[in-house]
Subunit: 211 residues, 2 copies
């Protein structure tokens, strides 16, 4: 049973009645690190409430080029999914587990009911939208106003924070995908950052020094 974990993550947001409803209607979901959770074009019929772990949300264009939008953590939900549910549209994004992840899938059927019944649910949904819009603005700021080396540094910091570890198990190629650039460019900039003393490079991992 996931009652304990649900309460741990959400008791300070939701009232007891609502927590019980979630327990009754929700279904536990899980994903191993790296596992795909939602693909672009998927028809989404339930929304995930994150209990443990982290998920990265990616955008992809028609040529298959990717771009990391943001990470979701414990206590977050995917407003984008939510948005799809309500609008009955297909997913515009791809979701991949960043770490081993645990979540509750709540059927949209309940959404409408809870929204009118529970103030805390309404607030949660609105706040979730607010957070997602903020993240998107942040992402836009990065790609519009920052140089690649700054974006890279931010990426490494965010990733270190999400994983709770300064040593990132990640290849240059993966970073290149997330930032929508090429491996060569990332290698070049990482080397530069190392010379500046901001990171330490090893094979298959990167240690972030200046948080």
């Amino acid at each position: 049973m996931f009652e304990k974990k649900l309460k741990k993550a959400y008791h300070y947001i939701f009232e007891e009645d609502l927590l019980q409803e979630i327990l009754k209607n929700g279904e536990l979901g899980q994903a191993k690190a790296g596992e795909k959770i939602i693909e672009i074009g998927d028809y989404v019929k339930s929304m995930p409430l994150l209990l443990e772990g982290a998920i990265k949300i990616l955008r992809q264009d028609k040529d298959g080029d990717e771009l990391l939008l943001y990470f979701l953590e414990h206590g977050d939900t995917c407003a984008m999914t939510l948005s799809c549910c309500l609008g009955q549209t297909r997913s515009e994004i791809r979701a991949v587990a960043e770490k081993d992840t645990l979540f509750v899938m709540v059927p949209i059927a309940k959404m409408e009911e809870w929204t009118s019944k529970y103030k805390s649910w309404r607030n949660f949904v609105f706040e979730s939208y607010h957070n997602r819009l903020s993240e998107m603005l942040d992402t836009i700021d990065s790609i519009a106003f920052m140089n690649l080396d700054q974006r890279l540094m931010k990426y490494l910091q965010d990733k270190a924070k999400i994983n709770g570890d300064d040593v990132l198990q990640v290849t240059h190629q993966e970073i290149a995908y997330d930032l929508h650039t090429s491996r060569v460019v990332i290698s070049r900039l990482l080397k530069k950052l190392e010379l500046e003393g901001k990171i330490k490079l090893q094979r298959n991992n990167i240690k972030v020094l200046h948080l």
Copy 2:
């Protein structure tokens, strides 16, 4: 009185009761083309429902560099503002009238009440968030995946659509601000687009040929 205009724009979304509440609590606002409506950092205490005209929403970084996020039209509201209202935070964006614009300012105080009382209001708010997230994704796609000439073409097309006129009254410098680049670059690309037969350049205006 703006009753007629309000009903014209929103009667198919809101029930009569809600329209009356909006009329009772809302305040008419207007802005001339080019006029600033919301500035970054403003403390927003009411949300605008657009009746006529159009508004452009801009992001600005610390150095004062700007970037056009999207346009709002009749029937839209600014989810970003809404988000600020609910979160009691300051505006993260700047709003400028694209044309002469008419809108109703609705005090947030009423928001919470309406959200629990009117299903149509809830749907409107959710749909609004959904639309804004979509626009943001679109913007991200543009800056992440497209070259400047493609972005420029898209900008011109969007602008022509919003203004309902293929002839845009706009200077190269203005475009440069909206796309966050320099005037010289825009002049160069516009000339290229003209040679490709996609637009026709005149002083102070641009005619979009290939819609």
